[in-house]
Symmetry: C2
Subunit: 239 residues, 2 copies
């Protein structure tokens, strides 16, 4: 190792250091490309790449026409306790409890399961489902995107008025949800997602696949997409 570290890393490390040390407080401007090339005696490509890397780490944010700034990060992370029982409003209850106004829109439509969802719900691909998309916002800012797939037979209940949790709605049908399985990984946002969530370039998302089971049958599954740099998902459970 240590043959010849890339030039841009020197810049990245120096600036990162300053941010972590607090020499560059939140909101402070980062030198522009031109200034960095002079200051560190590197090419423009390296300066640019350094800014890009820092931005993708979430440490700084670039504003076109203005400059790069140390990111303000209101410490929302870890405040959001994810409760399993209040679908379809995970993480929302806590924000509300903290005084944030959470709003959302959604719309449902009938769809066929398709290969992926069919596998998750153990149905055949042409099974009739109801798909509902939710976009949640806190104080106007996009928060998370959720897409839920339910068996068509349960969908009629799901009207504007009926904002009860999936679990209580199901219970009204005589179905007792017995288990929730969530699977989370990280990936690059799809174009729709970066649009809807107003994501900066290079920001990854957490993708949670959640499936509700009744006994040994899956009855609902949803995809939840969350900006990975702004929020985290917290699971809490008794042993």
């Amino acid at each position: 190792m240590a043959t010849s570290d890339p030039v841009y890393l020197r810049v990245v490390e120096d600036i990162r250091r300053q941010i972590i040390d607090g020499a560059l407080p939140p909101g402070a401007p980062i030198p522009s490309r031109a200034q960095l090339t002079r200051k560190y005696q590197v090419g423009e490509t390296a300066a640019r790449h350094a800014l890009r890397v820092l931005a993708s780490e979430g440490l700084i944010i670039g504003r076109v026409g203005s400059g790069h700034y140390v990111r303000e990060r209101p410490d929302l992370t870890s405040l959001h306790r994810w409760r399993f029982l209040d679908h379809p409003t995970p993480l929302v209850a806590d924000l509300q409890a903290q005084g944030s106004r959470v709003t959302w829109d959604w719309h449902s439509e009938p769809v066929e399961a398709g290969p992926e969802i069919a596998k998750r719900l153990r149905l055949n691909e042409s099974a009739p489902l109801t798909r509902t998309r939710y976009l949640y916002r806190t104080d106007g800012k996009p928060l998370q995107l959720a897409t839920s797939y339910e068996l068509r037979e349960f969908a009629p209940l799901h009207t504007d008025e009926d904002r009860r949790s999936l679990i209580s709605r199901m219970f009204a049908y005589g179905i007792k949800i017995t288990e929730v399985v969530e699977s989370v990984h990280t990936r690059v946002p799809r174009p729709v997602e970066s649009d809807a969530l107003a994501l900066a370039a290079g920001v990854h998302v957490l993708h949670v696949e959640r499936t509700h089971w009744a006994g040994d049958r899956p009855v609902e599954t949803s995809d939840i997409v969350i900006p990975g740099d702004r929020f985290r998902v917290t699971y809490s459970m008794p042993v």
Copy 2:
């Protein structure tokens, strides 16, 4: 919208399409920069950027001196069910059950809590702790990196022989773990991590902070870092 999509996106989308459709099966070579510039009539920068984006999505992998190839992804994802009760070998039990050989090395050392860990364990910063780092491998390939912090008083039990779970070790001390809280977000790997886990450039990691509680006191906390593109974390719990 749709003012003027970046040029490189056209290339990305076309190749992604082909990979998803299976026209480009795992292992298939992706055209080189030079070929892409000709094929799509774009500049080298765009071709390059397209390859970079696809690589960071985990769809292709670049090998210096050889080319880019569609990534082979053994469908490990979602097979790994994360069980809470078998620390310090989360996710390992399932792999073993599937016939994979999982190996690990670790080493413990005494440390002071420091600001971050102190906050998580509700101690003061100079509290004496034992830090243990684990590197897990499946079939030789790095799988996950875990760093665990325990109160020094419990550490003596933690010898080479004693591979029992934290929970049973604690129980032997009369401490009953009552709750596990995990918080997951995604971020860029630190240099140590990409080294240890042999991560390709641009791959993000899942960072799980796990804290074990006994009543209202946290007794152990750990940081678990997992390549976000190869693995996912699955939580399963009864309602």
